[in-house]
């Protein structure tokens, strides 16, 4: 059996992947003639859209690494958006951020009481938290915003903006390089420039959270104990680790991060709390966590892809054709790689899908917007369907643990 494997060194592998990605992007931009695929504006928007999804995914990592499957992230995020609108409108954006984090953490704390102390099924409890979070915010929003100036039953008055950072010395030259349309180089410049132009302070905070989480999980004793609670809580208990404590801290932190994601939506993404604002991003965050293999790096990558797709379709309908071509190129590339590795079934299926997208691009002049609308979800299903065998969830994720019941 022919087996071509990528170089083992992690750094080399990741660099190669990035290079391949940029090449695909460049190809798609050239042939679909949509410069916007790698423009500074698109990348900036993509980063912005990726942040709430990524933060929710990061919250998922905290919770699930400690062994609590957290489908309640959506509800906690909703609580966050309300907190941000409510406090942000009255006492400024930073108060809004703080309230969002606290509201999210509160929701998570209730979730922890139910799942950790009472040992209720975590998916059920998470669904209940989502229902509750939605109900409470609807109720409170009516009370808090209905008679407020510029507010309404389902919407808060505007919140003032948070500072954002532009380093024009870097952003401008990159941006102009991007506009020249040089194969690969311009695209790389475009990708980079997005990180220096109007970057919200919360985005920086979010990036810091990812780094910090990775550090805590793998470099500190706190992280080791938290992971042990998700891998084998009985073993941890037998060594005197207070498993409940770590689960509580982890779950509450996960809610705080989901709340921060909500704050981003309400304060940075828009400037109001609005009912239904989260639009399922908590679930998408969970999906990015899964295909990020319960690791911060992978989750960040997953969130970026979603953010990117979302950004493209929001900016212009004409981008959708380019997106389709990009999808087709990537699918076909992966399919070829899989076929070479002897994974015939999956490879062929992906290849067919890629071919379908390619012909859609070639045969139609304008693809319907719904293609972009469903792209994130289809991507998730595709990634899960092809990669689920190689994923390594925490061994005791979703398992109900009760102290003193070791077997």
């Amino acid at each position: 059996m022919a087996r071509i494997s990528l170089p083992q060194a992690k750094f080399v592998r990741i660099s190669l992947l990035i290079f391949a990605g940029i090449t695909a992007l460049s190809l798609a931009r050239t042939f679909a003639d949509t410069a916007d695929l790698s423009s500074t504006g698109t990348i900036g928007a993509a980063v912005g859209l990726a942040v709430p999804i990524g933060l929710a995914g990061l919250g998922g990592i905290w919770s699930e690494r400690s062994g609590i499957a957290n489908i309640g992230l959506e509800g906690m995020m909703i609580l966050g958006t309300f907190g941000a609108g409510w406090a942000g409108w009255q006492w400024g954006p930073w108060a809004g951020v703080a309230a969002a984090v606290i509201y999210g953490a509160l929701g998570a704390f209730i979730f922890a009481v139910v799942t950790v102390s009472f040992g209720v099924d975590q998916i059920i409890a998470g669904t209940a938290i989502n229902i509750l979070g939605f109900g409470i915010t609807q109720f409170l929003a009516k009370l808090a915003f209905e008679n407020a100036p510029g507010g309404g039953q389902t919407q808060s008055p505007p919140v003032t903006a948070l500072p954002s950072i532009t380093i024009s010395q870097i952003a401008d030259p990159l941006s102009s390089l991007q506009k020249q349309g040089i194969f690969i180089i311009s695209d790389a410049a475009g990708l980079l420039s997005g990180f220096f132009f109007q970057v919200s302070i919360i985005t920086l905070l979010a990036i810091a959270m990812f780094v910090l989480t990775a550090f805590i999980l793998w470099r500190t004793s706190f992280g080791l104990r938290m992971r042990s609670a998700g891998e084998n809580p009985w073993a941890a208990e037998s060594l005197g680790v207070n498993v409940y404590k770590y689960k509580y801290i982890a779950v509450t932190t996960s809610g705080a991060l989901a709340g921060l994601a909500g704050a981003y939506l309400a304060i940075v993404g828009t400037n109001v709390y609005r009912e239904g604002q989260t639009a399922g991003r908590g679930y998408i965050g969970l999906a990015t966590m899964i295909f990020g293999n319960w690791r911060p790096g992978g989750t960040a990558a997953g969130a970026s892809i979603f953010g990117y797709i979302d950004a493209l379709q929001l900016r212009s309908k004409s981008n959708i054709s380019g997106l389709a071509l990009l999808g087709a190129i990537i699918l076909i590339a992966i399919a070829i790689m899989m076929l070479l590795r002897g994974m015939r079934g999956t490879g062929a299926a992906l290849g067919l899908l890629g071919a379908a997208l390619l012909s859609a691009f070639l045969l139609t002049t304008k693809l319907p917007t719904e293609v972009a609308l469903v792209a994130p979800y289809v991507t998730t299903l595709l990634v899960l369907a092809t990669a689920s065998q190689s994923l390594r969830p925490p061994a005791a994720d979703g398992v109900i643990y009760r102290r003193g019941e070791a077997h």
Binding site: I131, I136, P368, E370, Y377
Partner: protein, 364 residues
């Protein structure tokens, strides 16, 4: 013994309802509302014949949704995808009944069958992903929900299947009179009880019989209680996943039909969108038991309908959503506590029986 059992069954939901009344009471009081005034207004409004009819109709929908969820729960499968399944199913059924000319009743039957088929098909994708690729149905059904929204929007907005039914509202063409199940004025002379009410009752009975009196039901429950033991007993676990998912999806396909055939007659983009999550809540409250679910569905519908009066009272009617959330959360906790208590009592009883047996032997 029978009485004890009844107490066992009712303890948890009653506890949860009382707890949620307390919580919502505290919330209302803290906003200066008169709690008893609020609750009595709700009760008065909710028990008028008009409201009772509406409650029956709403409960019909909730019941179907909850049964769909419960079928999955019975074997530890979490069908969060009821939302996507019923919307896609209702749209397709509406399109079929609206576009294809058939004699009235035949058209209704066709709508029902198509809806069940589409619901099962959409759920079947999740089943396939779980069985063949090992993907948790929790994630896949959520993704399929959003995918369904995209598909529906495409069909209604971009294709010729959708037409403009009202000003600026696109949807499937109105279903002809003869194919409607508008129902009968049983309770209130002006409002009709959905014809689907009776179909929902039939679904409940079939659900109970299949689950408790057939081999298939036993295999399903065994798979839920212990997949490994079920496999060793000869159950093909993968096939069971597919069957239960298909059954759940087929019932989910019916969820939109009471409204479609009883009131709306056309599937528009404004079609009610969140019955699936209500179904989860009701199934949890009713412990997947067909009678328990019926009570749960009625309670939920009562809260939803009777709360409509509250806005006139200056109290946001979303207080009821909080109440429902608290009920769901506390009922799962309460069921868990009752379960632990039962295990403990049973162990004690077995211990006692054993001790008695040993002393008997000793005195022989």
């Amino acid at each position: 013994m029978k009485l004890r059992k009844l107490v066992d069954v009712l303890a948890a939901p009653l506890l949860a309802i009382v707890f949620s009344l307390v919580v919502t009471g505290v919330i209302l009081a803290s906003f200066g509302a008169n709690i008893f005034e609020v609750f009595s207004r709700m009760f008065d409004y909710g028990t008028s014949t008009r409201s009772l009819t509406l409650i029956t109709n709403t409960a019909t929908t909730y019941y179907l949704s909850a049964v769909a969820v419960a079928i999955g729960f019975k074997m530890n499968i979490f069908n969060i995808g009821v939302n996507g399944q019923y919307r896609l199913a209702a749209m397709t059924a509406a399109a079929v009944a609206g576009w294809i000319a058939m004699p009235g009743p035949l058209s209704a039957v066709a709508a029902i069958l198509v809806a069940m088929f589409v619901g099962a098909l959409w759920a079947g994708i999740a089943a396939w992903l779980k069985v063949v690729r090992g993907i948790s149905e929790v994630i896949s059904t959520i993704m399929l929900n959003y995918l369904a929204i995209g598909v529906i929007s495409y069909v209604i907005v971009q294709t010729g299947i959708g037409t403009e039914v009202k000003l600026n509202v696109r949807g499937t063409p109105k279903i002809q009179e003869g194919a409607r199940l508008a129902g009968y004025a049983l309770i209130d002379p002006k409002v009709k009880v959905y014809g689907f009410f009776f179909i929902a009752i039939a679904v409940g009975i079939i659900y109970w019989v299949v689950l408790n009196r057939t081999r298939f039901g036993y295999d399903l429950r065994a798979s839920g209680l212990s997949p490994s033991a079920a496999t060793a007993s000869g159950v093909n676990s993968k096939r069971m996943v597919v069957y239960s998912m298909l059954a759940s999806g087929a019932i989910a396909g019916l969820v939109g039909l009471p409204d479609l055939l009883g009131k709306e007659f056309s599937y528009t983009l404004n079609f009610p969108a969140n019955y699936g999550f209500t179904g989860i809540a009701v199934a949890l409250l009713g412990r997947n038991n067909p009678i328990g679910i019926a009570f749960g569905a009625l309670l939920w519908a009562f809260l939803d309908i009777s709360s409509q009066i509250l806005d006139l009272e200056g109290v946001p009617r979303e207080i009821v959503t909080i109440m429902q959330g608290v009920i769901v959360l506390s009922v799962v906790v309460a069921y868990e506590l009752v379960r632990r208590n039962r295990v403990r009592t049973q162990q004690q009883n077995v211990g006692k029986a054993l001790a008695a047996a040993t002393t008997n032997e000793g005195s022989k």
